[in-house]
């Protein structure tokens, strides 16, 4: 009976329909599951770039507990981390090192630009040693404004990143 259904004319369409069914049944839930695992365990690299690191440290404290979102500052090596939070001003001395750190991290990786200085140079826009924003060096996913942003703002930035990851392709 199958041989009657599958003729050389509609074999392509049949395979296409089978592919659609497989995607809906297996690939989409699989992608959803993979993304679910990624967004509830974002591990930031332990690199503090400038003064916004104080508010990042306060966000990890008991009052604004960011660990309940899975964001544990894994103190190990950067090969196990997948999030770079650029905290504050990037100077010309720090920028090549930051790029090196970003290149060494495994895929998939995300970047949050925290603070006005990381977005556009902020208060130090005319300094001789400061880059006007991190956009030219790293591809940024979420911008969190503030000088420094309150810990609640940082947590909202992380939640925006989670929304973004949900919509991304898993592989």
């Amino acid at each position: 009976m199958l041989k009657d259904l599958v003729t050389p004319q509609n074999a392509n369409a049949f395979v296409g329909k089978l592919g659609d069914i497989l995607v809906k049944a297996i690939d989409q839930p699989l992608g959803y599951a993979i993304n679910w695992g990624r967004l509830w365990s974002l591990w930031p690299v332990h690199i503090e770039t400038a003064c916004c690191s104080v508010e990042f440290g306060a966000a990890s404290g008991p009052r604004y507990d960011v660990e309940r979102f899975g964001i544990i500052e894994a103190f190990g090596s950067l090969r196990q981390c997948d999030l770079v939070v650029v905290q504050g001003t990037i100077t010309r001395k720090m920028a090549p090192r930051l790029r090196l750190v970003y290149d060494q991290m495994p895929e998939p990786k995300y970047v949050i630009a925290m603070g006005a200085c990381a977005i556009t140079g902020g208060l130090y826009f005319d300094s001789y040693n400061v880059l006007p924003g991190i956009d030219g060096v790293l591809p940024v996913d979420v911008y969190v404004p503030g000088c420094p942003p309150r810990p609640e703002t940082l947590i909202q930035g992380c939640m925006l990143l989670q929304e973004k990851i949900k919509r991304m392709k898993a592989r």
Partner: protein, 377 residues
């Protein structure tokens, strides 16, 4: 044998025993600076600090902004201790412009300055916990610090980077009922701080990791020009609030904590004792403060100083903070130099880390009360 090297590549003969490590800007045991450490097995042979990763050119930019617009800039080196780093700048500008600060403003300044000592020192203690791997020592100070930040938020409107001190006083008066709330929270903080003695400073693991490491003798502390808690942990009794009192510290009773051994354990204990002392200072200041009065002197727009220079010093959580201001009859200062405690204590690092074991490096390095953003300005 290699005959032709590609351009830009050099060969260097490396000693067989000694290895160079970069304890770099991305490291769980370093802040925003790099230490180039050469080790022979487990012993450190030499250490070369490499600061400058957060050098933003504060001193150059201060010459392009006038005395009032400089305030948000000059508080950014230490954002959680911003009142103390603006203090010598405001005192200096007041002397240059000939301003008389009202009495109530002086007391409010003392209270804000001591509250900032809590926020700075508790954050320092929290990061010390991370470096030593003691996660309770991160969580407890990070949580208790929020009480001091709540008070500062009621007072100034911001959690950190308060921009509260201006030349001529403070920006705004105390909100209603602030004295009672402050007294209650300071009493609670003091009760919490006293429990730190049992869980942290009597902890045998902390004691064995920090005792007898990085010993700085009294002569060396004086010769190297150290300042702040590093100096007081090595037996030198020098605290600017007692020796050269500014604002109303001469009417308050301040006790200096001096410890004798000069090792990392003493350097980690002195800031805690200073915080307990701060509680007393705040209580005294709240009692003696005049109940009413203005807190700010009205300034004309674009004030100019004469052809003069001034050097003022203040005691902060890291040590003596000095501001050297040179003015030349313009609304902008001619030169502003911040002499910060972290930069003065930087010279202890190559001195103390030589001969230490590599595992002791975080304990010694962070006990020097070094905040990299401030040292780079």
């Amino acid at each position: 044998m290699t005959t032709q090297l590609p351009p830009g590549i050099q060969l260097e003969k490396v000693d067989e025993r000694i290895m160079t490590l970069n304890v770099g800007p991305q490291h769980p045991g370093s802040g925003h600076m790099r230490l180039i450490i050469r080790v022979d097995g487990d012993r450190i042979v030499s250490c070369d600090p490499d600061p400058g990763y957060v050098h933003r050119g504060e001193e150059k930019m201060a010459e392009y902004r006038n005395y009032i617009t400089n305030i948000p800039h000059l508080e950014r080196p230490v954002i959680h201790d911003s009142c103390n780093i603006l203090y010598p700048y405001c005192l200096g500008v007041e002397e240059l412009l000939g301003l008389q600060v009202p009495e109530r403003a002086k007391y409010v300044r003392v209270i804000a300055s001591e509250l900032n000592r809590f926020t700075y020192t508790l954050y320092w203690l929290a990061i010390y916990g991370i470096f030593l791997g003691h996660s309770t020592m991160f969580m407890w100070p990070a949580g208790d610090r929020e009480f001091a930040i709540d008070l500062l938020e009621k007072l100034t409107g911001a959690r950190v980077t308060h921009a509260y001190f201006v030349p001529g006083g403070v920006r705004n008066d105390l909100p209603a009922n602030f004295e009672d709330v402050c007294l209650r929270q300071v009493n609670y903080l003091e009760k919490r701080l006293k429990t730190y003695g049992d869980i942290f400073y009597d902890n045998p693991i902390l004691i064995s990791r920090t005792e007898k490491t990085g010993v700085l003798s009294r002569q060396d502390a004086i010769r190297l020009g150290t300042t702040g808690t590093v100096l007081r942990a090595s037996g030198v009794d020098y605290d600017l609030r007692v020796k050269e009192p500014y604002d109303v510290y001469d009417e308050l009773d301040v006790h200096t904590n001096v410890l004798k051994n000069g090792d990392s354990y003493d350097r980690s204990k002195t800031p805690w004792l200073d915080m307990l002392e701060s509680c007393n200072i705040i209580r005294q200041a709240l009692e003696k403060m005049p109940k009413s009065g203005s807190v700010r002197v009205k300034l004309k727009p674009n004030p100019k100083g004469g052809n003069d220079e001034v050097y003022k010093r203040v005691e902060s959580g890291r040590g003596a903070l000095g501001a050297y201001i040179v003015s030349r009859s313009k609304p902008e200062p001619y030169r502003v130099k911040l002499s910060v405690g972290s930069f003065r204590n930087l010279i202890c690092m190559p001195h103390l880390l030589k001969g230490e074991k590599l595992g002791n490096m975080p304990a010694v390095y962070w006990s020097l009360n070094y905040w990299p953003v401030e040292a780079d300005r």
